[in-house]
Symmetry: C2
Subunit: 158 residues, 2 copies
């Protein structure tokens, strides 16, 4: 468990999520204008997905909590070895959410810095993420942190 200090009142802790954290993580995924219409009410598929994430050594699902224990954020890290770019290991970041009442406190930036440190500590030389083109605020946020939107992010339902 790591401590994240921000401009908000009190410190936050970021920890590897456990099965008991799943309901709070689903609430965070739903606390979002795009995610709201995409997430379900039944927890069973989320718990099944959690079990797959949890046994995979290349996945790190994290949850952030405030001092009182309230859920404040989440993200999922995936470490991907690969041959391209000179055999570079990539850190892929997905499912970044910061609880709406906490936005603007610097928690998001501190959480991304924590994620990048996880990447560096495991030998990743590149971090990448995709963000829905409708999320203009998120794009400004990532650009402030130094991210560059060099790529188009394509998706296809299977």
């Amino acid at each position: 468990m790591d401590t994240i200090t921000t401009d908000a009142d009190g410190d936050f802790t970021v920890a590897r999520a456990t099965r008991e954290d799943v309901p709070d993580i689903v609430d965070l995924l739903r606390d979002d204008e795009i995610g709201a219409g995409r997430e379900g009410v039944d927890l069973a598929p989320y718990l099944a997905a959690f079990d797959e994430v949890d046994v995979d050594p290349q996945q790190l699902l994290a949850i952030v909590r405030g001092e009182g224990g309230a859920a404040a954020g989440t993200l999922q890290l995936t470490f991907v070895p690969g041959l391209s770019r000179g055999g570079a290991k990539r850190l892929i970041v997905e499912g970044v959410r910061v609880q709406s009442s906490t936005r603007g406190s610097g928690l998001g930036a501190a959480l991304m810095e924590w994620a990048q440190e996880q990447g560096r500590s495991r030998g990743a030389t590149l971090v990448q993420l995709t963000s829905d083109k409708r999320r203009a605020d998120a794009h400004r946020f990532y650009e402030r942190l130094g991210y560059v939107a060099t790529h188009e992010g394509f998706k296809l339902d299977l």
Copy 2:
């Protein structure tokens, strides 16, 4: 090993890459206007990266060969379980290359269809990839296959 039939002369086979395929895969990564300046000559880091890919059950590095055995294409598949989108499993595609002399034969489309079938067979409901914004031809290719550039692809060197 699967057979891919295209409009080009003869069939192609797509197979899980072995260590012996690494030099050909690196040549394919280098046979590219953007990749050319990014890939090295020393094979050692690529072999080390291959070993990490090969032991990871969520990775599938593939190589395509023509009937005479010549390397014709490569891509890397990563299967990522996750909580968002109702606990959806994603297939991430990286490092797609088709040998320049074979482009336009339908091999790329057949290879992507093969990749999508790998995803479906392992329960993925979404396939995603990022493509450098300078690759206008590649974007038209993915759009023809039904991919939609809904996301910005951000990257940051660590």
